[in-house]
Homo-oligomer: 116 residues x 2
DNA sequence: GCAGCTACCTCGCTTACCGAGGTACTGACG
DNA sequence: CGTCAGTACCTCGGTAAGCGAGGTAGCTGC
């Protein structure tokens, strides 16, 4: 029934999503997830995907993170884009755009009204 | 280094690609792969991804397949879209479009010139 | 005390692509 | 004749990454 499942499509885009959200804000993990949910409910990535992705990006040097005492709550880990991260984001965006245009090229292959 | 890897992005889109290619042609597997390579070299899905996908779609009733004697070569399995397959394709296209627009919404979140 | 919220993290399961390998038939080269 | 190359099919093990469920911890309210 379900032809393309969201969770399969999501594979590989989680990094892009996180990098984009952090482009000009410093946020903690939980907040990143909320931000994505607000912007596009359909993407709602789970914590089981989010935290490994944050750690991966941090290990790679794309993100810098610092612990902050959460006021009236548990401690928080704040993430922001490093200089290297900006480069990674630019690459990721370019890769995504070219991928989308490639898929679009194939998807429009057999359509009658190509120039709708 | 590589931020988004093509093979991760491809996850989930292979079915869409195959369905689109078969929209108004009856082709055999090898030919489908060639068609996709021609249309978008960057997508070049491997046979290890293609054949399982064809079988999956056939089992699901989206594709109908028949054996044909290959003239001057090995036997071939020809695939075409079933009526149900057209519905699946429409759904898949819709799902893909909405996914792309969702990712786009997040990707454009922090960009200065949102309305170029 | 217990439930519920925020916030973090981890683990096992599953899905699906990749590369390498294998079968089978044809045609060309030496 | 053996071998290689091409077409066409298929399968298998490895891997990457999202998902759901679970666990820790601190605070708030009944």
């Amino acid at each position: 029934m379900s032809p393309l499942s969201r969770s399969q499509l999501l594979k590989g885009t989680t990094e892009l999503l996180v990098l984009c959200i952090l482009e000009d804000e410093t946020l903690h993990g939980y907040e990143i997830a909320q931000r994505i949910r607000e912007t596009a409910a359909g993407l709602a990535l789970s914590e089981g995907a989010l935290y490994p992705t944050l750690h991966r990006l941090e290990r790679r040097g794309a993100l810098a993170a610092t612990w902050g005492a959460g006021e009236g709550g548990p401690r928080r880990r704040y993430y922001r884009l490093s200089d290297e991260g900006r480069g990674v984001l630019a690459e990721a965006r370019a890769e995504w755009d070219s991928f989308v245009s490639d898929v679009g090229a194939v998807a429009r292959t057999g359509e009658e009204g190509i120039r709708g």
